[in-house]
C-alpha cells in the first residue's frame, strides 16, 4: 500500500495505538496484598502470574532503579535445561517450555530463538560427565546428545577444534538451547502484569522490613511505608544485603560477572558454543554482534567495574575458539553482581520470617529460569507458603542438612 504509507508518512495521524506499553509510576498506597521487592525479570514475572493465574492484582513491584536494569539487562541470555541433577533438569525444562510460547502469550516479541547449545569437552572426564547429562536430560524429555568432532565441525565450521592445544574430544549438543531478548522478557511480563492491575514502582528502594514477631508485615521505602500480607524478595546480587535488613543471613557470596560484545558482522554462527576447559562461551545475536562471557571474577565484590585482567583472559580464550575474532572490535563491556550459592542451585521458598518469601541465589544462571520462577513463586504466595514440589529441593534449609543440589559442573562454564 505505497499510497497509504505516504499518507501516514506525511500526515499527523499514526495508524497504531499510541498507548505506552507501561504506565507511569503511580502514587504509593499504604497497603497491598503482595509487595515484590526487585523489578527484574523474576519480580515482574511473579507479579504477572499472581495476576493471571491467581487473580491477585493488588500487588506492588518496588524497584530501586528502573525496570529490568539489574542482571536482567546484563545477562548473556543463554536458555537451556541440560543440567546434571534430576531436580535441576526437571525445573529448568519447565522454564524452557514456558519460554517457547512466551511471545504468543504476551503478544509481544521476545525474539526467542532456539538455535541449540553446544558445549565442548576437552578431557575424558568431561566426556563422561556429558554422557550423564545427556542421559538425565533425555530422561526428563529434553533433547540432548553427545556428538563427535565431525558433527561439531558440520554444525560450526568456523570453530577451531584444537583451541589452546586442547583438542575437542566431543560435544554436548542440546537442541533445546536458545536465546531471547532479555529486556523484552522483563517488558513483556511488566506489560502483562500492569494491564491486569499490578503497580510497578520504579525509583522506589526498600530500606527496611517491618516485622511483628517472626512475621514480616510491611516495608519502608524512600517513598513511604507500605503494609502488606506477603513479601517476595527477588533482588539477585543484593539478596544477602536485603536479607540482612530483614534480619537473617543467606549462604550467598556476591561476585561480579563480566561479559562483552563485539561490533556486528554477517550471520555465521547459529548455535551457542561454550568450552568447558576454556571457561568461555560465544554466541551471535540476531543483530550480528558476538556476545561472549566466562567465569566470575576471582574475588567477591559489590561493584560493577570492569577489569583489564578479565578482558585479556576472556578475549584470549574467545580468540582460541574463533581465531578470526582477533580482527573484530569490542563494542561494550559490563558487569553484574551475582549472588552465588556453593552448590550452584538457587534458594527459593520460605525464609526465617513468616510471609516473607525468597527468590535468591540466582548467581550467573537465573535468566533462563525467569518464567518458571515467576510461576512457582506466584503459586507459593497464593497458597500462603505451601511450597510447590518443583522448588522444594531449593529450600534455604538444605544447607543446614547438607542436602545441596550440586550443579557446579553443569553451570560454571556456560551459565
Amino acid at each position: 500500500m505505497p499510497f497509504g504509507l505516504l499518507k501516514y508518512g506525511l500526515g499527523k495521524d499514526y495508524p497504531f495505538e499510541r498507548e505506552p506499553d507501561l504506565p507511569a509510576t503511580p502514587t504509593l498506597k499504604q497497603h497491598y496484598d503482595v509487595v515484590i521487592i526487585g523489578g527484574g525479570g523474576h519480580g515482574v514475572a511473579t507479579a504477572y502470574y499472581l495476576a493471571k493465574y491467581h487473580g491477585i492484582t493488588n500487588v506492588a513491584i518496588l524497584e530501586k532503579a528502573y525496570l529490568g536494569g539489574g542482571n536482567t539487562a546484563r545477562n548473556t541470555a543463554v536458555i537451556r535445561s541440560n543440567y546434571l541433577t534430576p531436580q535441576g533438569v526437571r525445573f529448568y525444562s519447565e522454564s524452557v517450555k514456558l519460554f517457547e510460547r512466551l511471545s504468543n502469550e504476551f503478544d509481544f516479541n521476545i525474539m526467542y530463538s532456539q538455535r541449540g547449545q553446544l558445549t565442548l569437552a576437552h578431557t575424558d572426564a568431561t566426556v563422561r560427565a556429558f554422557r550423564q547429562r545427556a542421559e538425565v536430560n533425555t530422561h526428563f524429555g529434553g533433547r540432548t546428545e553427545l556428538i563427535d568432532p565431525h558433527h561439531i565441525a558440520e554444525l560450526v565450521p568456523t570453530l577451531n577444534l584444537n583451541p589452546a592445544n586442547m583438542p575437542v574430544l566431543a560435544g554436548l549438543w542440546h537442541k533445546d538451547g536458545a536465546t531471547a531478548r532479555h529486556d523484552a522478557v522483563a517488558w513483556g511480563y511488566a506489560k502483562g502484569a500492569t494491564q491486569r492491575g499490578v503497580e510497578l514502582h520504579q525509583l522506589t528502594e526498600v530500606i527496611d522490613i517491618i516485622k511483628e514477631g517472626d512475621r514480616a508485615v510491611g516495608v519502608k521505602t524512600n517513598r513511604g511505608t507500605v503494609h502488606c500480607r506477603s513479601i517476595v524478595q527477588a533482588v539477585a546480587g543484593y539478596s544477602a544485603v536485603l536479607a540482612g535488613i530483614a534480619g537473617f543471613k543467606l549462604p550467598l557470596v556476591s561476585y561480579p560477572l563480566q561479559a562483552m560484545v563485539t561490533q556486528p558482522v554477517k550471520p555465521f554462527l547459529d548455535p551457542l558454543v561454550s568450552s568447558s576447559a576454556l571457561h568461555c562461551y560465544v554466541q551471535q545475536t540476531s543483530r550480528g554482534e558476538l556476545v561472549f562471557g566466562g567465569g566470575s571474577d576471582p574475588y567477591p565484590l559489590y561493584n560493577t567495574r570492569s577489569t583489564l585482567e578479565l578482558k585479556e583472559s576472556l578475549i584470549a580464550h574467545a580468540v582460541e575458539m574463533f581465531p578470526f575474532m582477533s580482527e573484530m572490535q569490542l563494542l561494550r563491556q559490563w558487569a553484574g553482581i551475582t549472588d552465588m550459592t556453593s552448590d550452584y542451585s538457587p534458594i527459593m521458598g520460605l525464609s526465617p520470617l513468616r510471609h516473607y518469601y525468597l527468590d535468591a541465589g540466582w548467581g550467573t544462571w537465573g535468566f533462563k529460569a525467569t518464567p518458571i520462577c515467576g510461576q512457582t513463586m506466584a503459586e507459593l504466595v497464593a497458597n500462603d507458603g505451601k511450597v510447590p514440589d518443583l522448588i522444594a529441593p531449593f529450600a534455604l534449609d538444605r544447607f543446614d542438612h547438607f542436602k545441596q543440589v550440586n550443579e557446579m559442573g553443569a553451570t560454571a562454564a556456560s551459565h
Binding site: 543467606l250 585482567e309 543446614d400
Partner: protein
C-alpha cells in the same frame, strides 16, 4: 592492573593471589552440631563494607590477611596471620567494630 601488597613478597599483581574466604571463628569440629558446622561452612556476612579475608600468594604458598572494602574494592591493610592468631578467640574485624 590491580596491585596487592603481600606482607612477604611486597607489591604484586593481584592475579598472583587467590581469594580464600572471609575470616571467621571455627567451631570445634569434635563438639559442634551439624547446624553449627553448616553455619560455619556455608554462611558469610556478605554485607557491604570492610571485610577481613584470607588470601594466598600462590607462587610462594603464603597465606595472609587482607582488609578490604568490598563496595569500593579498596585494599586497606594486609598483614601476616600471626597478628590475628595471637589474638585469643580470633575476634573478627566485623565483631570488633560493632
Amino acid at each position: 592492573m590491580k596491585i596487592l601488597h603481600c606482607p612477604l613478597n611486597g607489591p604484586r599483581n593481584i592475579s598472583e593471589f587467590v581469594y580464600g574466604g572471609q575470616v571467621k571463628p571455627m567451631p570445634n569440629p569434635e563438639s559442634a552440631t551439624d547446624t553449627e558446622w553448616a553455619a560455619y561452612v556455608f554462611y558469610e556476612n556478605n554485607s557491604i563494607g570492610v571485610v577481613q579475608e584470607w588470601w594466598l600468594h600462590a607462587p610462594s604458598s603464603y597465606w595472609f590477611i587482607v582488609e578490604r572494602h568490598n563496595g569500593s574494592d579498596t585494599i586497606l591493610r594486609t598483614y601476616d596471620p600471626s597478628e590475628l592468631l595471637s589474638n585469643p578467640g580470633m575476634v573478627s574485624l566485623e565483631d570488633a567494630i560493632q
